[in-house]
């Protein structure tokens, strides 16, 4: 019986030592394995991608917000955006729907910036304008649907009360109430 315990103890020490011995050489145990799926699907051919409006009125440049004269892009690192926008009035956060980290909302006068973490880096995934700021093509709160269509073309989709223009996974929407724009949203579909 004593021998059995001695053997078990020796085994436990041996196993633990073997386990610990690997630590120095392997570095971070969180390896970034490239999966077979990843190699073949590195960039998914998502056939949902929309094309710019056929009349050419809406283009990728329309997906960049201009706030206080500074370009803010969807997918931009928040640090870069904050350097242009300055400190937010208020920042709120909640557990991210993407798993690790937090989704954050940066509140400013007249607009909000939303971020989602990508491998530890917060990126801008939405910008909502509620007052005082126009799109680069001059649409602002209070403008009519006719003016929106005049500036951005007829290649839009209506979702509820939103008029939505999109290219790939990014979009620009205008929330309409009584034929007036009451909110402008830039969105990046990453969820």
């Amino acid at each position: 019986m004593k021998k059995f315990f001695a053997i078990t103890l020796a085994a436990l020490i041996l196993t633990s030592s073997a386990a610990l011995a690997g630590c120095g050489s392997s570095g971070d145990s969180k390896t970034s394995t490239t999966t077979a799926a990843q190699s073949s699907e590195a960039k998914s051919d998502n056939s949902s991608k929309n094309t710019p409006a056929s009349d050419g009125a809406f283009s990728e440049s329309d997906l960049v917000a201009k706030i206080n004269g500074k370009d803010i892009e969807l997918g931009e690192n928040i640090d870069s955006a904050l350097a242009k926008l300055g400190e937010a009035k208020n920042v709120t956060s909640e557990l991210s729907c993407r798993g690790e980290g937090e989704d954050k909302t940066y509140e400013y006068d007249g607009f909000n910036v939303y971020t989602v973490p990508f491998d530890g880096v917060d990126k801008v995934t939405a910008i909502t304008i509620t007052s005082g700021i126009s799109t680069p093509k001059g649409i602002s709160i209070g403008d009519t649907e006719a003016k929106v269509v005049e500036k951005y073309g007829s290649g839009f989709k209506k979702i509820g009360k939103f008029i939505s223009y999109s290219i790939d996974d990014k979009s620009l929407q205008f929330f309409m109430k009584d034929d007036k724009v009451t909110e402008i949203d830039y969105n990046y579909d990453v969820m």
Binding site: S16, A37, L95, Q173
Partner: protein, 382 residues
Amino acid sequence: MRAKTVIKQSVKVLSLFIAVIISACVLQEFVLCNADHNRERIKGFDLENKNSLDVVFMGASEVYSDLAPGYAYKNYGYTSYLYASQASSIMSYKFQLQELLKKQNPKLIVIELNSAVYANDDNVTKEENVRNYVDNTHLSFEKVDFVNSYTDKNRVEFFFPIIKYHDAWKSLGENMGMISTIAANRFRGYNYLKGMMNQTVIFHSSQRTMNEFLADANDKKPLTELSEQKLRELLQFCKDNNLKNVVFARFPHIVVRRTYDRCERSNMVEQIVSEYGFDYLNFEKNDEGISIDYNNDFYNLDHFNVYGQKKFTDYISRYIRDKYGVTGSTLSDSLKKEWETASDYYDAYYNYSDALIRENKQKELDESIVNNPEFKQYIKES
């Protein structure tokens, strides 16, 4: 004499070898592993008595935050389990269903398919997401098949996770709560919360919600190629195995513009699921009977807090009873006792969560909370 010595030596060597293997298994199982809420939940499922569950809910975090098995048992009589992992990937759903069917033959299996509507393949192929489930399963032919189809690198780390988590001893202190919880569950033979996990927060969306438009939103957006392929493989498996007790679902979310496209992909999922002859229960789109308060019932865009969890458990329990005839089974005395205890723990969980929310104290509550002295004050024995 010489032969005797050789035999004696051989026995010693063999004993040492066996002891090393056993020690490695014990370490891999309890210590040198990723001891988190996913592991506790998946391991907890393995502890359930064979064929003792009336319903199994499978999927990602929506499943373990949106439903309460203890509450469902107390009020509707059926036993259930939340067989889910964080940000789970559609890649592993067929394998997960195979594992589920080895242990249980429920009256109903509800598979939540949020993992099929991700915008891109990052979340689908992300190793951490896959590992949240796969690392907590035993070595089996099905696991080997899955891993071989998933990756061609470091496969051995999936088969023997101790290799990947060999340095988990460094965080032994911070993981000790969950390690001891998992060990206690094993010793007891079941867990109390049946997979539940939630946050003590009331979420207020600062972005305009779109849920009111969803009933009329019928446009479809294609899934990523990989998601569709894996979804179809899962459906084909269900069809080939004539699984009549499987339904698919989409649970409610707060939908804002930046998450709206998932709804259109969900419409596409519905079309694909129906091609294979299965039901798709879209509770996100058809939410009128749930009485959701979108300003009070979520802890973030995608997950109910305990208030929403209770409402949704009520709703889905009535729904599966009325549509699929799911009611409780006759339980042995020991199982009855176990489920009554689970029900008591749910009550404590709800009341403790409610108190924390009222005090504005944000906390993540998983099974390890049962060891918290503050929580224990809320437990009333049956």
